[in-house]
Symmetry: C2
Subunit: 212 residues, 2 copies
DNA sequence: AGACGTATATTCGCCTACGAGTATTCGGAG
DNA sequence: CTCCGAATACTCGTAGGCGAATATACGTCT
């Protein structure tokens, strides 16, 4: 998964950001804060991975362990603090994420790309279910935004972003359904034939698909 | 990564779909077809993974090896064909992907959620760069769509979808920039203070962030 | 005919992700 | 006081992802 960055897991970015104020934190507390501040909505957080990521961050000098301490008689804890290299990595990484759109692979896009193996009628039914789910989620999220009305908007941009994207997707799906319904989507007849023929593309498409 | 599905890698879905017509294919040819038909745009395709996925698909009975053959003196090839269980898995999986929106974690959303560590001015600059990149990509993709004008639209839905999403994102970013510029985004002053204070949240926010 | 680049076809091994397990302490209920 | 569940704080093993290596055959330029 890791590529150019020495630490590829996005969790690493969140951890670095937690340490920015300068205080040392031990892994378990990082996990607690992340969960408590709702960061699980923004990224995949698994405790097992968190410890791996902390190790990697240390290995590459982005954080360093403060002398292990013992509080009460709890298991030994090793707190970490961010290094200058860590701060540099944080701003650089974050800057890149904001400025350069990544090519990610939403499962839905993958699914769309092989939609042909289903029949148009099935697809219509499935898309309608998706639409319902999308609308429900949007409504829930809009409520969430209203409830947190006193919190400055800046601290909710990721929610607004997600909401905007979800609504855009819903609109697109609606458009697609409409196009299928009023038959303005070119190729639906061919699609049905394709599907009825057991997924074997008619010969005259072969070249088109090949040449692409 | 794998969860409910016995084979979690989305590549498996694409491979199953290739085998739907009934002909047996060997792994290398699957890879060739996928690359040739532009599926790399829709999902992450690594040859190393492909072989692993093929093995897993076989292990779970979704595909089965046909007697290994030898063509010319090329290295031995083992072609696979889809089983009834494989067809069932394909339609079920695909159906779920279409009907049920997944919670995925776009890096950009994660980045937005910790934007606070950058200064508002930096963020504006970065967002402007993103906007340029988005517009450039959209333009390129629209050209691509025009060029393939004879191909039935059904076979380009994934492209249309991506384009729609990208444009929606661009619109949202534009809106955010405008809101920052005309100061209608609540909390920007606090944001600046927060950043100047070294990322330490002012005490009166603590509760809000905690209670969330 | 030899050399060299490209296409064919797969294997290997490292690293990361992460579920599940382990060990300890604390805060109540009874 | 003691039992027990929840919280604290990690560790470990396994499976999957993927870059890189390997090995053969083919085409073609000289």
């Amino acid at each position: 998964m890791a590529q150019r960055r020495k630490v590829g897991n996005i969790l690493g970015l969140a951890l670095l950001s937690l340490l920015v104020p300068g205080d040392a934190l031990h892994p378990y507390e990082m996990a607690r804060i992340l969960r408590h501040t709702g960061k699980e909505q923004d990224m995949n957080i698994k405790v097992g991975s968190l410890y791996t990521v902390v190790q990697n961050l240390e290995k590459h000098g982005f954080i360093e362990a403060v002398t292990a301490e013992r509080d009460g008689r709890r298991p030994e804890r090793t707190p970490y603090k961010i290094t200058p290299a860590g701060r540099a990595e944080l701003t650089d990484w974050l800057g890149e994420l904001v400025a350069v759109p990544q090519h990610e692979y939403p499962r839905f896009r993958a699914a769309l790309s092989i939609l042909g193996v289903l029949s148009p009628d099935d697809v219509v039914r499935l898309l309608e279910r998706r639409l319902d789910a999308l609308d429900a989620e949007s409504a829930a999220q809009r409520r969430e935004l209203d409830d947190a009305g006193d919190l400055p908007r800046v601290f909710l941009i990721e929610v607004e972003y997600t909401l905007a994207m979800r609504e855009a997707e819903a609109a697109w799906v609606r458009g697609l359904l409409a196009a299928i319904a009023d038959d303005s989507l070119s190729g639906v007849r061919e699609w049905r034939e394709f599907h009825d023929a057991g997924g074997r593309p008619p010969p005259e498409w072969k070249e088109m698909l090949d040449s692409e």
